[in-house]
């Protein structure tokens, strides 16, 4: 009963105080992030195992990725995390219009990232670097000869191991992109309450939790970029 009329409907019936509600949401979200870490952890493990098994071919296949586009995307994603953090800040200060503008910025950066990613993906299709029947990896003859002389790798062997690299590449970046798409859809639901000024110092946990999710997805990319694009690159 206590003060519920005063506090509006933002305090759920089973909590005693905003502090309890906020702390619960925050702990719950951290636990969700923990399960996300374990989720991506499985595929990071697969990457690690295969990278250690095939360092030469992985490095060679890695050179096929577009460093410029990947680099730009890294910057774009970090900027989107910045605007997301600012949106949460605006929410805590109760500035609805500010929240909306920063959310739009976040959405735009997310869109740019996915756009660039799709350009990269379509290039892989054109170069027959998508795993499956049409996969064909064609490094320079010089590289092939080098691997044959030093390691005894046949072109067939190199082709198969490169297909493994691109399997992991598509699985990892695809999962990451899927998380971004989910995030951008959820983000749309914050516009209305933000515009109406529902967020304030007492009540802003939904947007704060979403911010955690967005930063998490960002950090996944911060790991993916060096792992896939940079390590051992020729």
């Amino acid at each position: 009963m206590q003060a519920s009329s005063h506090h509006s409907s933002a305090l759920a019936h089973h909590f005693d105080s905003f502090e309890q509600q906020r702390e619960s949401a925050s702990l719950g979200m951290w636990l969700f992030v923990a399960q996300e870490i374990m989720f991506f952890g499985g595929i990071f493990t697969a990457y690690l195992v295969y990278r250690v098994k095939n360092p030469e071919v992985f490095a060679l296949a890695s050179s096929e990725l577009d460093l410029t586009l990947g680099g730009i995307n890294t910057v774009v994603l970090i900027l989107s995390s910045l605007t997301m953090a600012l949106a949460v800040r605006e929410a805590q200060l109760g500035r609805g219009k500010g929240v909306v503008s920063f959310l739009i910025a976040t959405l735009v950066f997310g869109g740019i990232f996915l756009g660039i990613k799709s350009v990269e993906y379509s290039a892989k299709f054109e170069h027959h670097l998508v795993p499956g029947e049409h996969f064909h990896f064609a490094p320079s003859q010089e590289e092939m000869d080098h691997l044959w002389e030093t390691k005894g790798f046949t072109p067939e062997h190199i082709d198969r191991r490169a297909e493994m690299f691109f399997s992991i590449y598509f699985a990892m970046t695809g999962l990451h992109a899927f998380h971004m798409i989910i995030g951008m859809v959820i983000l749309l639901f914050f516009f209305r309450p933000a515009w109406r000024g529902r967020y304030n110092a007492d009540y802003h946990n939904p947007i704060e939790c979403f911010g955690l999710y967005w930063h998490f997805v960002d950090i996944v990319w911060i790991f993916l970029f060096p792992m896939l694009y940079l390590i051992g690159r020729a």
Binding site: H13, L27, F40, T45
Partner: protein, 545 residues
Amino acid sequence: MSNAKSKERPEGYPDRHYLNAAHGLKSWFLTTDHKRIGLLYLLAITLFFFLGGAFAVLIRLELATPGGDLVQPETYNRLFTMHGIVMIFFFLIPSIPAVLGNFLLPLMIGAKDVAFPRLNLASWYVYMAGGIFTLWALFEGGLNTGWTFYTPLSTVYSNTAVTTAGIGIFITGFSSILTGMNFIVTIHRMRAPGLTWFRLPLFVWSQYATSLIQILGTPVLAITVLLLALERTLKLGIFDPALGGDPVLFQHLFWFYSHPAVYIMILPAMGVISELIATFSRKRVFGYRFVAFASVAIAILGFLVWGHHLFVSGQSVYAGAVFSVLSMLVAIPSAVKVFNWTATLYKGAVSWETPMLYALGFIGLFTIGGLTGVMLATMGIDIHVHDTYFIVAHFHYIMVGGAIMGYLGGLHYWWPKIAGRLYPVFLSKFAAIIIFVGFNLTFFPQFILGYLGMPRRYHSYPDEFQVLNVMSSAGATILGIGYLIPMLYFAWSMFYGKRCTQNPWGAKGLEWETASPPPTLNFDEIPTVTEEPYDYTPKEVQHAG
């Protein structure tokens, strides 16, 4: 309609409670009340238990004779696969947490609900969505990979409904994760005033430990099954040996979840047993803190032992030795629990109510399951009995003899709280005893069969194994009847059972300090806790009934 007896209201029986607070299908399917969600889960997992049981019936029928008389080998492969998938992912894992945990956790800690009631309801729908995919896989003809989905059988060679079933398990896993998240936050943030960590009932401790595994283990299975599905559909060859992929990596990832999953099943059952032993011995659980920390220790150690499933899978011998030692370490916290329960019984005022029969049955069966587990952790014995019925017997002693006995014991103990009604005493004791007898007759012969060398997962076997197999099939019949009886009298009791008083066992714990059945918001006034758990001092002993 109901007879006069079921209409009688004992003094203090509530007019309004969570069961009659609202009516109609919508009030159930859109409820956010943790107690109603617990009942939704109860209904759903009972259906899946029935389904998984039906597969078991067919398996035992086939194995009653040495020849493959009833089904084709391919059909048999699908039967044991579907039995495993349904029983593990759709019954055992959600059983105690999602039914009893959901119902009891907020009551035990003096809260109005779990921390995230809507997420709680969502978890049920996620579970059902996964269940529908699994049923769909069944209608596609089932799958033949075993519940373990080993590659490359599951990726390259099997043309059965692997992808559909995989999607079902992927989805259902998230219901488990959501439940775990909800419970951890609830235990951290929703406790009543004065309810410190060491005043929590041991059931709550065990749920906490279980939730840790659900959150940290399940996503690893999710990504593993997802990669498997991607390999089948999009030809991403993560586990494909032709691309240098490693099927053993699949086994590592799979067991990283699926071994701890055994502790998702057994830890909550241990929590139930702690409650039952305390109540029906009228004593504080001996070494409360040891039992509490043993749950956490099992959860943590459980993550470090998965390699004992890979002793014959091309894992290095050194890794095998390490996993062997780590696996034996799990025996320590497990034994702490068994010894402490036994010490609690010592000089206790033990009464032989139905839940107590299940508790005592649990201790015996779990001990056999646990000790054979230590045997199997030694590489020499494991390699000898690998993939034989010895393994089958071992894990059924843990999962059925342990987890299901705990689940049924808990259901009998808290049923008056759930339904506000009683069940037939004699019939329930009879069922408990024939479940115990039927269980041992089913699975003890399988230890011998396995030791003699009968491999698992074949639909036929040499003649000399028939006597023991017939014993096993006969036991399964008794066990099946034993399971049907409680299903029937619980369904009857829900509507026609005699109404009970608030605390028919005279038990301690916050859940008994509110009406049976409880009001929607659990307590008329949130209690303040001033005493240790299980504080059964002689003057406070109340007699049951």
